[in-house]
Amino acid sequence: MDVIVTDNGFSTDTWSAETTLSISSETDPESLTLPNDIQRVVITFPNFADGRGFTLARLLRLRGYSGALRAKGPIISDQYAMARRSGFDEIAISQAQAVRQPEHDWLFRSNWTAHSYQSRLQASG
């Protein structure tokens, strides 16, 4: 059972497979269309060094997806802010990861809106 990480720390996974659309990091962005009626999307990360999921998340948001978006995989706490800024709402990690990277490590990065050069540059002129 995955541990879910949000700005408030750890919680349990309440999503069911039936109502969730799962997208792999290999997904061709041209075939990345908005899911009909789906309000829960998971992008899976094969390993923490594979940053495609961040761009896929951004594209989903740019294309109008406003439902819940989750990153799932061996993501490390130091990637929390970049995940949130890319458009993810939460991260799903394994129990073992949650032991190695306790809640405190994730909360350390939860002020993800601060110090964002990119947000600053995309503001209105």
């Binding site: 041209e30 594979d50 761009t55 294309r63 800024r85 890319s86 990065r109 600053r120 995309q122 002129g125």
Partner: protein
């Protein structure tokens, strides 16, 4: 130059706290090395052959005397009293200890410096023409754009875990001094009628498969710069290969997909991203242009300069070789050579750094540049100050008059320092420089750029050297291959491999044979090595290197 504001300072403070925490977690074991490695790389900390190495960013190669002095202090306090300037305009410290690095980063932040994204699969230091803002031939100063790109790329949430590193260079002059055509993205400011925009070149790169970049967009309006660059990186982040690190760079992606397909994908992504930039980037750009405006030129007579020039032959020689035309006729751009024959190319002791910093403050409107050729540039020197500058440089061993000459060698650290290296490069550079000093031919030879890489990664840019040298391991012995006719400028060319390599005891005389062949074949002393090579081709040089031919022969 750019001055940090509250946002920049706060960002850096936060970033350093994050890294300090990461170091502590690595030391405590909470982070494995596998997890820590990308984090330390994105903060510029490498593990090298003998020790760690910290690569400090010098954005677009620009710094002031306070920053140079701080680098000298850091070298003294936490390293072994020197630094190495690189082909991407950065500085490297070769002996930091892990537990000291957070303190070093804090010391850097005191002078608005950092080591962010100087390594790892991130967008690296955006480099620019080291004569920017000073060159007589400049269309527009590229550095406001470089600074804009630096801010845009810093801690970009999507682009910290890409297929590989990503390098961007900007040039503001038709004369390309920033090696733009060998970068993942090269941005060339150009005029179209009354308007100034960018030619966007992608897919240049050296290394195992050297390639000259191709034009993706012939004329990009300035206001489209950030979304367009972001579109390119976004497309590549998803498309670039992650299964084979030798095929990950965008040059291979371009090669495998074709220019038209990449143009199509980028255009599509650009149309999605463009609306996200609502004008603040342009407002910031205007503020940046103001930050980079020309200093208040001094108005003074230059008569004594001309007198000294006529009177002191060594000073004359240094002016002729190490200064370049400035947009203000009473000024000159001065190159401080870090290539005294016998010295390690690109190294400066902390004492030398302090001397250069003080001279820059006195005579260059407090501005310095680092050139990709691993020299230091003082961009704004009034001619009346050149003599005092020269006399200040001389006792510090910094007045070697060899800019662009054969002893102005670019060399990577090679196997004396680098864990990736297959051979040493520093001793080869030293021996070649000393040899030609002894032969007293340097001035007669004229412009000749030798570039040496200690492995196939080509950090010494050997592919674009007029003479390139690549150090490899052949059956457990260092072996040096020569390439000829490379060019790093707007007429960019990948050098042609001459033939089998030479060992350390014969490479210098091999280079000598190439140079003597040039002297023999040139039409006049106004025909440079590269011009001669382009006229006569490789055959006479190959004949000189391998008398009697080299078919079937193994390495000399």
């Amino acid at each position: 130059m750019y001055q940090y504001n509250g946002f920049d300072t706060a960002f850096l403070k936060q970033r350093n706290l994050q890294f300090r925490d990461q170091v502590q977690r690595r030391i405590s074991g909470a982070l494995s090395e596998e997890e820590f490695k990308p984090l330390r790389l994105m903060n510029g900390l490498y593990l090298q052959l003998h020790a760690y190495m910290l690569r400090v960013a010098i954005p677009y190669g620009t710094l002031n005397s306070a920053q140079m002095t701080a680098l000298a202090s850091i070298a003294e306090k936490w390293d072994k009293g020197y630094g190495h300037f690189t082909t991407r305009q950065n500085i490297q410290f070769n002996w930091p200890k892990l537990q000291d690095v957070p303190d070093i980063l804090d010391a850097l932040s005191e002078v608005d410096m950092h080591a962010i994204q100087t390594s790892g699969n991130t967008i690296r230091n955006v480099t620019a023409d080291h004569f920017a803002g000073a060159a007589a031939d400049e269309i527009e100063d590229p550095r406001p754009y470089a600074e804009l790109l630096r801010q845009w790329s810093t801690d970009h949430p999507e682009f910290q875990f890409m297929p590989r590193k990503f390098k961007i260079a900007v040039s503001g002059s038709a004369k390309d001094r920033a090696v733009t055509r060998a970068h993942d993205i090269g941005l060339l400011l150009k005029k179209r009628g009354a308007e100034i925009g960018f030619e966007v070149i992608i897919g240049g790169g050296l290394g195992r498969t050297p390639m000259i970049g191709k034009t993706l967009c012939d004329f990009l309006p300035k206001s489209d710069l950030l979304p367009y660059v972001e579109a390119i990186v976004s497309v590549w982040n998803l498309l670039g290969r992650r299964d084979n690190k030798y095929k990950s760079r965008i040059k291979i992606t371009l090669h495998e997909n074709g220019l038209q397909e990449i143009q199509r994908l980028v255009a599509k992504r650009f149309s999605e991203l463009r609306p996200q930039f609502k004008g603040q980037d342009q407002t910031l750009l205007n503020a940046l242009k103001n930050a980079f405006k020309a200093p208040a030129w001094i108005d003074a007579p230059t008569a004594t300069f001309h007198e000294n020039y006529a009177k002191y032959p060594n000073f004359k020689s240094w002016v002729d070789i190490n200064t370049s035309p400035h947009r203000n006729n009473d000024y000159a751009i001065a190159t401080v050579s870090l290539k005294t024959p016998g010295q390690t190319p690109g190294d400066a002791s902390s004492a030398q750094m302090r001397v250069i910093a003080d001279l820059a403050k006195s005579y260059s409107h407090d501005e310095l540049r680092i050139s990709h050729a691993q020299n230091i540039v003082l961009p704004h020197v009034h001619k009346s100050h050149l003599f005092a500058l020269y006399n200040g440089l001389y006792p510090a061993g910094l007045a070697t008059a060899n800019a662009g000459l054969i002893s102005d060698i670019i060399a990577c650290p090679g196997m004396d320092y680098c864990a990736l290296a297959t051979a040493r490069s520093i001793p080869i550079a030293q021996e070649i420089a000393l040899r030609f000093k002894a032969l007293k031919l340097e001035h007669d030879i004229g412009p000749l750029q030798i570039k040496i890489s200690g492995c196939i990664n080509a950090c010494g840019h050997h592919h674009v050297g007029h003479i390139g040298i690549l150090g490899l391991d052949r059956a457990g012995v260092e072996n040096y291959q020569i390439t000829l006719g490379g060019d790093a400028t707007e007429t960019a060319t990948i050098g042609e491999r001459a033939g089998p390599g030479f060992d350390a005891s014969t490479i210098v005389s091999a280079i000598e044979r190439v140079v003597l062949t040039y002297l023999d074949l040139r039409l006049s002393n106004r025909e440079t090595f590269l011009q001669t090579f382009r006229r006569v081709g490789a055959p006479p040089f190959k004949e000189a290197l391998y008398p009697g031919g080299n078919e079937g022969k193994t390495a000399a």
